[in-house]
């Protein structure tokens, strides 16, 4: 590998990530490397440029191992609806899961019991979770980084909107998308954030302020903190297990001297509907460029331009994508625009204001669950359609995207079934340092167990902390 070669030649590391293996979700453009978004529309599409975030990682010396699987065009919460098939959660093959969840019948292959990673950045979460790399890039529009992070037992960071460049990230919802960072520990996330954050002239929605990379303190005092527990996040369908874990976490902070109070984000319950209108509208717009003319799949249909477009888009997109395009176009029709799109924008403002009020009243960090339950088996997941699943699973993560706030999911404990459960922290805009500091403290307290994959032989488990971190400098 040339990077390694350079290292030896100059005797200096290229950057903080020199030699670190990384994986990148397949909706980021990578020069000379196929970028598919797990869709037939872009199968075989070789991107001519690197996304800014990819370039930044490579500039720091990171080694790209590969592109990871996702739901087609990042639409989904299970990483099950891409053309390359579903992503399997590595924890399905862990000793912890196998011990707790005996196979349905001994004759049946354990293949049928495997659980989903969550989505849509399932491939990236699985890659980090199974030790194939230290860092993976995901994207987060409604929870797509935090959800799989929680299900796969890794750290999933959604930065503040506008902090990290979206240039080269194939968009789902331009006004909500952010590149997400998946790592094994919070310190690593801070390092990667330091390499990625900052103004990009190629992305007009990034803020101009200079970003100062930070290191997280090792000794953290939470006594001055005020932790908010939003009562609306006790959502219908929240498993009693996770509810208990959430409560335990709150107690952890209380016992350490932090102020823990219940708060209210009254418009939370409208966020899913609001999201669906705004998301589908932007999807309808963003997908309009896929017509088979300049790049990507082109149908073998020459009767007319229109018929070529129609065939190309029918062949190139799966049902989920096409469904969202249809809905989105409906909401954008002149007669519907006011009642749907404008209305949704107003509701979005209300949701964002909920956070402004709460954060303005002295709350530093919000503590919530990330998901309603642990990862479900694939066979069960696919019983409901994508839209239903998304609506259910996004409820706890979606509002942070609406408001553009930073949020992080930290692996907290194993469920009864031996699968990871994560809890989420939501912070003030552009206050990633505070957010990650609190997250790091929490991570230290819970001491989440390492996945025990038979295929991967590990040394003494008690030194896992040292091994997980890449900060050897």
């Amino acid at each position: 590998m040339t990077e390694k070669g350079n290292f030896h030649r100059w005797g200096q590391p290229l950057g903080v990530l020199d030699g670190i293996p990384i994986a990148v979700k397949d909706n980021f453009n990578t020069a000379g490397i196929e970028t598919t978004c797990a869709s037939n529309m872009l199968k075989g599409y070789i991107s001519p440029y690197n996304a800014t975030v990819v370039q930044k990682l490579l500039d720091q010396g990171a080694v790209l191992l590969g592109k990871t699987n996702l739901d087609e065009f990042a639409m989904g919460s299970g990483s099950t609806d891409g053309i390359f098939g579903p992503v399997r959660n590595p924890w399905s093959y862990s000793r912890q899961y196998k011990e707790k969840t005996p196979p349905k019948s001994s004759s049946e292959n354990e293949e049928s019991d495997w659980v989903i990673t969550g989505g849509s950045s399932g491939g990236s979460a699985a890659a980090v979770s199974s030790f194939t790399c230290f860092v993976a890039l995901g994207s987060d529009t409604g929870g797509s980084t935090r959800n799989p992070a929680a299900h796969c037992g890794v750290v999933g960071l959604k930065p503040t909107y506008g902090l990290i460049s979206r240039h080269g990230l194939i968009p789902l919802v331009n006004s909500m998308d952010v590149p997400g960072i998946l790592t094994r520990c919070v310190d690593d996330a801070a390092v990667v954030l330091g390499s990625l954050a900052g103004h990009d002239p190629k992305d007009a929605t990034t803020i101009q302020d200079t970003f100062k990379p930070f290191e997280l303190p090792n000794l953290i005092d939470v006594r001055k903190l005020c932790i908010g527990i939003p009562k609306e996040y006790h959502a219908p369908g929240l498993s009693s297990e996770i509810l208990a874990l959430w409560s335990k976490a709150a107690d952890l902070f209380k016992d350490a001297g932090a102020k823990v109070i219940e708060v209210s984000l009254p418009h939370t319950r409208y966020s899913i509907v609001c999201y669906h209108v705004l998301c589908t509208a932007e999807v309808a717009s963003n997908m309009a460029r896929f017509d088979g003319l300049e790049y990507g799949h082109r149908a073998d249909m020459n009767k007319s331009t229109e018929s070529m477009y129609a065939a190309t888009r029918r062949e190139g997109f799966n049902d989920v994508v096409r469904g969202r395009i249809l809905s989105g176009n409906y909401f954008l029709l002149k007669q519907n625009y006011e009642n749907y799109f404008i209305k949704a924008q107003k509701v979005r403002r209300l949701i964002a204001n909920d956070f402004v009020k709460v954060f303005g009243s002295g709350v530093d960090i919000l503590l919530t669950p990330t998901t309603l339950s642990d990862a479900v088996p694939y066979m069960e997941f696919i019983k409901e359609d994508n839209r239903t699943r998304s609506a259910q699973d996004d409820i706890l993560t979606q509002a942070a995207n609406m408001a553009g706030l930073p949020a992080i999911s930290i692996p907290t404990a194993l469920s009864k079934r031996g699968l990871p459960v994560g809890l989420q922290f939501i912070g003030h805009s552009f206050q990633e340092k505070q957010l990650l500091t609190v997250a790091k403290w929490f991570e230290k307290q819970v001491k989440f167990p390492m996945i025990q994959l038979e295929e991967v032989k590990r040394h003494d488990c008690s030194v896992f902390q040292h091994q997980k971190s890449v900060s050897f400098l």
Partner: protein, 523 residues
């Protein structure tokens, strides 16, 4: 279909006569009668901004480059690319807005306008539908009444708004091979769409307004506005109604490739609508294409039913914020913002101001100033000649407009390409002014100069022996030999003077000749 030539039916004739009648702002009131119609004309003018790169990407702007050689990833709509606003385009729009007396919106927004077409790679155009960059302006232009340049009237058309938007690519239909070829060089080039209120009433007004707009844009440098190169494209909205009644259904006329065709297209469409309505028909709210060969408008099949463009805010571009001297934050870097007042202070003299100055400074007629400005470089040429000659401007202008300009037109040359430089012409005019030659001799010299052989006027005069004969004795001899009849009648005197002039090939001093002849005749 299209059977009509260019003859106008009764009603339209009245309409156009009414149009030329001096009336400030409101349309002419036609005399009551069989066909009293009020035509209503509004324009949508797409102006290509003169800039090095495109509105939202860094690829170059250049006319007639090899196909698809000026296309960036963003222009080709490659997934993941984002728009970044070009500062120069914003400045061009502000300049144009100020020149057209608009209010500049300190905050304006960008939107996506969706439709599928081969020359629109993203499936949407980025434009300004909700809040454009400039609104509520006016454009003043002048018309000659009854084609007499000596009677000019000033009219004004209100400018509804100016918006920034992307140009589309070009699709070329190859019917022979049943294929469409797409060239994206033009895709993403910055446009200013100038929308007028329907304040005009005929083709002549529309053409004059557009001509004046062209001059303004060229003066500002915000666009070269050459229609032949697609830098200025005009769509006309036309309707007719009876005075006092509500406006009629309007049609949109596209595919107009020159100012001259604009006048024709508008007038044709007015006539067509009047005839249609007078025959009991109705006007459809449709888009029509102007066929320049046949001189008529034809319905365009493409638009079936009304398109819903599903406008949506452009999420990748924050609102465009402009500043003025008052609102400019103290520590803001001047390079990072667009300051409306800064631009206003640096606006060049607009054509109307330039014309007024020419009239005042040089005492020429208003219609002369129009001609001077209408021809690229002619005003500068004129002023250069003035600087280098003692001849009065009122006399110089005649040489410029009658002699030089007609030569240029005859040979289809621009002022820039004139073989006769302002220096040479001034030199010639000086000879004339010093009475070293007569004016008819000067014309002969000019003809010679036009050959562009590099000779000076003086040289030509010497070569052709065109010097004015001042010598009394010499002239007396000539007069003697020319005089045939001894009569005391003025007519004959003039004839004799003419004969002497002919004999001397215009070199004789006419004043002296007259004296000599009179003397001779009275002897």
């Amino acid at each position: 279909f299209c059977t009509r030539g260019s003859s106008a039916p009764e009603g339209a004739k009245q309409g156009s006569r009414a149009c030329a009648r001096p009336a400030t702002g409101h349309r002419g009131t036609a005399p009551r009668g069989l066909a009293s119609w009020v035509p209503v004309v509004g324009l949508e003018i797409h102006v290509q901004i003169s800039s090095n790169s495109k509105l939202f990407s860094g690829s170059q702007v250049q006319f007639a480059a090899p196909p698809n050689s000026l296309v960036s990833f963003f222009d080709a709509s490659l997934p993941g690319t984002l728009p970044v606003l070009n500062r120069r385009c914003v400045e061009a729009a502000v300049m144009t807005g100020l020149a057209l007396n608009c209010s500049i919106n300190k905050k304006s927004l960008f939107d996506r306008k969706h439709y599928f077409y081969a020359d629109l790679p993203a499936g949407y155009q980025i434009t300004q539908q909700r809040v454009p960059i400039a609104v509520n302006g006016s454009l003043s232009y002048s018309l000659c009444i009854d084609n007499k340049m000596s009677q000019m009237v000033t009219k004004t058309v209100r400018i509804k708004q100016i918006q920034l938007e992307q140009d589309s690519g070009k699709s070329l239909h190859d019917d022979a091979r049943s294929q469409t070829l797409v060239d994206l060089n033009r895709a993403g080039v910055g446009l200013m769409e100038v929308v007028t209120e329907p304040d005009m009433c005929c083709g002549e007004e529309a053409a004059a307004a557009v001509r004046e707009l062209q001059l303004i844009l060229q003066t500002l440098g915000s666009s070269q506005a050459i229609m032949a190169e697609g830098q200025l494209r005009v769509d006309a909205n036309v309707s007719v109604h009876h005075p006092g009644e509500p406006y009629g259904v309007r049609t949109e006329v596209k595919n107009i490739n020159s100012v001259r065709f604009l006048a024709k297209a508008v007038d044709y469409e007015i006539q067509r609508q009047i005839e249609e309505l007078e025959n009991g028909g109705t006007i459809l709210n449709e888009t029509r294409s102007f066929d320049s060969k046949l001189g008529c408008t034809i319905p365009m099949r493409d638009k079936e039913g009304k398109q819903d463009y599903r406008f949506m805010p452009e999420p990748n571009l924050p609102p465009l914020i402009l500043y003025d001297a008052k609102s400019l934050p103290v520590n803001m870097n001047h390079q990072q913002v667009v300051n409306i007042d800064w631009i206003r202070e640096r606006l060049p003299d607009l054509p109307s101001v330039k014309r007024a100055k020419l009239v005042e400074l040089y005492g020429i007629l208003p219609e002369h100033s129009f001609t001077l400005l209408n021809e690229d470089g002619l005003a500068e040429y004129f002023e250069n000649v003035i600087k280098q000659t003692q001849m009065k401007p009122k006399k110089v202008i005649g040489w410029i407009l009658n002699d030089l300009l007609s030569y240029l037109k005859q040979h289809a040359l621009t002022v820039k390409d004139s073989p006769v430089s302002s220096f040479l012409l001034a030199d010639l005019l000086n000879l004339l002014e010093r009475r070293e030659i007569s004016s008819s001799a000067a014309k002969q010299v000019l003809e010679e100069l036009w050959k562009g052989e590099g000779k000076t006027p003086l040289k030509i005069v010497k070569e052709k022996k065109l010097e004015l004969i001042q010598d009394q004795k010499e002239l007396e001899q000539i007069c003697q030999s020319v005089m045939a009849i001894k009569v005391g009648n003025q007519k004959v005197l003039n004839k004799l003077i003419g004969l002497v002039q002919r004999a001397t090939r215009g070199r004789s001093n006419p004043v002296l000749v007259k004296q000599i002849l009179e003397k001779k005749l009275s002897e």
